[in-house]
């Protein structure tokens, strides 16, 4: 992992987002819970990184940590986050606020509740534009209409004066996307952008996000638990489990040839249209709670390949081909085997 970091540090190929050994902790009555543990990844310009995993794997928290919206009792307890070379995890609140919305846009899961019901859609867009860009009211309005047109809202010059409740779910998500990109951010974090939508609308929203990322060269961090969405949109995918990255790599490699037993289980759970009536693979058990993460590899109680070392040693991410995987099965370095 160290090596990849050094490589990407050269200014030419500097990633838009670089997360290094991120650790997020929540103080609770039962002690400190570690929601994110030692997570590292990069996203390059114009690249879509899919972040996938079960509920509670830490996908959303990672996104919130990047945009600096982890609320107490949570806090970033370690690691670094760099946005185009600038370290942003320790910025003062006011400076981080200027980055939010301007350099990092965020799309939340539920478009029905993401917009303030009492303000016109246009006013919310114009407010955001004028917070970040030095534009007059009329110029901002013109830009807002252009944005609505760009995200595919018909008759934007009329709809701009509508209230959120006058839009359907899919249309509202388009407005949310327009809000997220209104200051041309370098990075968009989309936190389950399609989960709350109808299947037919999901595809439209996903292709919209993909198109916007491509057209503007925006890096996208797409958080979802839907492997289908990942396979369709992402360039690379990070599989998260219990607050850690189990495997990360180019999407076709990870989907066709998953290395980590957990990733294998996930990919095996994708139904195909080919019609082979094999039973879908099921991963036995469920993800541990944050307060009861097992020693060693956190996946070991559910893993069919677990051996003694998995119950003692925590596997570190190791490069393997184009992928990087945190699993002792791929650890070439021979150790004094306990078995």
């Amino acid at each position: 992992m160290r090596k990849t970091f050094d490589k990407s540090a050269s200014p030419m190929t500097e990633p838009v987002l670089s997360v290094r050994n991120l650790r997020v902790e929540f103080a609770s009555r039962r002690g400190t819970l570690r929601a994110i543990d030692d997570v590292s990844f990069d996203i390059a310009k114009g690249e879509v990184l899919g972040v996938v995993g079960e509920s509670g794997a830490g996908k959303s928290v990672t996104g919130l940590a990047v945009i600096g919206l982890i609320d107490p009792p949570g806090r970033i307890a370690g690691g670094e986050i760099h946005l185009a070379g600038l370290r942003i995890d320790n910025l003062p609140q006011e400076e981080m606020r200027r980055i939010r919305g301007k350099r990092i846009g965020m799309i939340f899961q539920d478009p029905l509740t993401s917009l303030n019901p009492l303000y016109r859609v246009g006013d919310q867009i114009i407010e955001t534009i004028r917070t970040h860009l030095n534009l007059s009211e009329t110029a901002a309005r013109r830009r807002a209409i252009d944005l609505l047109a760009e995200v595919g809202i018909p008759a934007p010059e009329k709809r701009i004066d509508g209230y959120p409740h006058e839009f359907s779910g899919g249309m509202r998500q388009r407005v949310v996307i327009a809000l997220a990109i209104c200051a041309e951010p370098e990075l968009i974090i989309a936190d389950e952008p399609t989960t709350a939508l109808d299947v037919s609308v999901q595809a439209q929203i996903i292709s919209l996000i993909k198109r916007l990322g491509r057209d503007h060269g925006t890096a996208v961090m797409l958080v979802t638990h839907d492997m289908g969405v990942i396979a369709e949109t992402s360039d690379r995918v990070a599989v998260m489990y219990a607050g850690r990255v189990a495997e990360i790599g180019p999407v076709q490699d990870v989907v066709r040839n998953p290395l980590h037993p957990y990733a294998k289980g996930l990919m095996g759970a994708i139904p195909t249209l080919a019609g082979d009536d094999k039973r879908l693979v099921q991963i036995p058990g469920s993800m541990p709670r944050l307060s009861a993460i097992p020693r060693g590899c956190s996946f070991n109680p559910r893993c069919a390949f677990a051996f003694d070392r998995c119950r003692v040693d925590r596997p570190e991410p190791l490069p393997r081909g184009t992928q990087s995987v945190a699993c002792h099965l791929y650890d070439n370095v021979p150790t004094e085997s306990a078995a």
Binding site: I67, L69, R97, R98, I99, R100, G101, K102, G105, M106, F108, D110, T113, S114, L115, N116, P117, L118, Y119, E127, T128, T131, H132, Y163, H165, E166, V176, L179, A180
Partner: protein
């Protein structure tokens, strides 16, 4: 929108009709009104003459229709104790009560909203906790006790403020106001605080709870993710959403402020409708009591109507559903 308003207006008339029946029945149940008017040694023939002149010998339905027709024109008969038309008496006292109620409500709204917003945004500060403690006192202490304590402190001990009355008033047409003289303003302070304290604490607690609720919503989180300034988020996005329930409560409370100014007016000998009502109760002056009942319910019903309409102005979602429903 018009249909909605009309429908609400019809409902309001229905409520007023029901109250009218109750007000009218007071005359029947509180003894023979003629006995209240004449002296003990009045001969029976004279009593009958009085009864006839007041129309009390007509059948009940006729009397009811007449009473209702008169009440609709703000004629409430003649006061037994003052021998004056009740409407004139009420009109004379109304400015005092309304002025007091408005001052108390403004005091309650302004301070209540400010304190509520502050204690929601700065939840853990000493001042916020102090507000919470004070509001508990405000809610649990009875009005008359607060009034008496204030009089003891500021009128008796310190001698800064007058302990009773309205001070000097200025006549503006039929309206009398104490707002234009120094003594009138001074006289307003303590009654306003006494009357408004309960509403203030109520509004403060409501604003605090609502604000905390709103700050947890997704659209506030999304507003933060868009990098809006804290100021815009708190005072633009959050406060506006907070104020919807506050409008209702403050509006409905204005009705009770007027209705329950009786106690405050008695404590401070404030020459308003409440004091008139208390005197009427002591003297079994039924026309005044009935008229007061009708007046207060008219105010309540009107405020309800206004609040409903205001709602649709603030909340665009209601505008749409109302439009669709009618």
């Amino acid at each position: 929108m018009l249909a909605f308003t009309l429908r609400r207006a019809v409902q309001a008339i229905g409520v007023m009709f029901a109250v009218g029946i109750i007000a009218f029945s007071m005359f029947r149940f509180a003894g023979d009104p003629v006995n209240q008017i004449v002296s003990i040694d009045t001969p029976a023939a004279e009593r009958e003459a009085v009864r006839k002149s007041l129309g009390l010998d007509d059948p009940v339905p006729v009397q009811f229709v007449r009473y209702f027709g008169d009440a609709a024109q703000f004629k409430f008969g003649v006061s037994y104790q003052f021998r004056q038309p009740v409407s004139a008496l009420l009109m004379e006292r109304m400015p005092a009560t309304l002025e007091l109620a408005i001052c108390a409500t403004v005091f309650a709204m302004v301070l209540g909203i400010l304190m509520g917003v502050y204690s929601a945004l700065r939840r853990d500060t000493v001042l916020a906790k102090l507000f919470q403690a004070v509001s508990l006192i405000g809610i649990s202490l009875p009005t008359f006790l607060i009034g008496i304590l204030l009089i003891y402190l500021f009128a008796v001990t310190l001698g800064w403020l007058p302990s009773f009355g309205r001070g000097d008033v200025v006549k503006l047409g039929w309206w009398t106001t104490g707002l234009l003289t120094l003594s009138g303003l001074k006289a307003l302070i303590m009654p306003s605080i006494t009357l408004g304290l309960f509403q203030m604490t109520l509004i403060m607690r409501l604003v605090r709870a609502e604000m905390l609720e709103v700050l947890r919503t997704d659209y506030i989180r999304f507003a933060r993710a868009r990098g809006l300034t804290t100021r815009a988020i708190h005072f633009g996005h959050a406060l506006k959403n907070t104020l919807i329930p506050v409008i209702t409560v403050a509006g409905l409370q204005f009705g009770s402020v007027i209705a329950f100014s009786i106690i405050t007016e008695t404590v401070f000998q404030w020459p308003g409708m409440g004091l008139l009502f208390v005197q009427a109760v002591q003297n079994v002056d039924i026309p005044i009591m009935a008229a007061y009942l009708l007046m207060v319910s008219l105010i309540f019903v009107t405020i309800n109507l206004v609040v409903d309409i205001l709602y649709t102005v603030v909340d665009p979602r209601l505008r749409a559903t109302v439009g669709r429903a009618t």
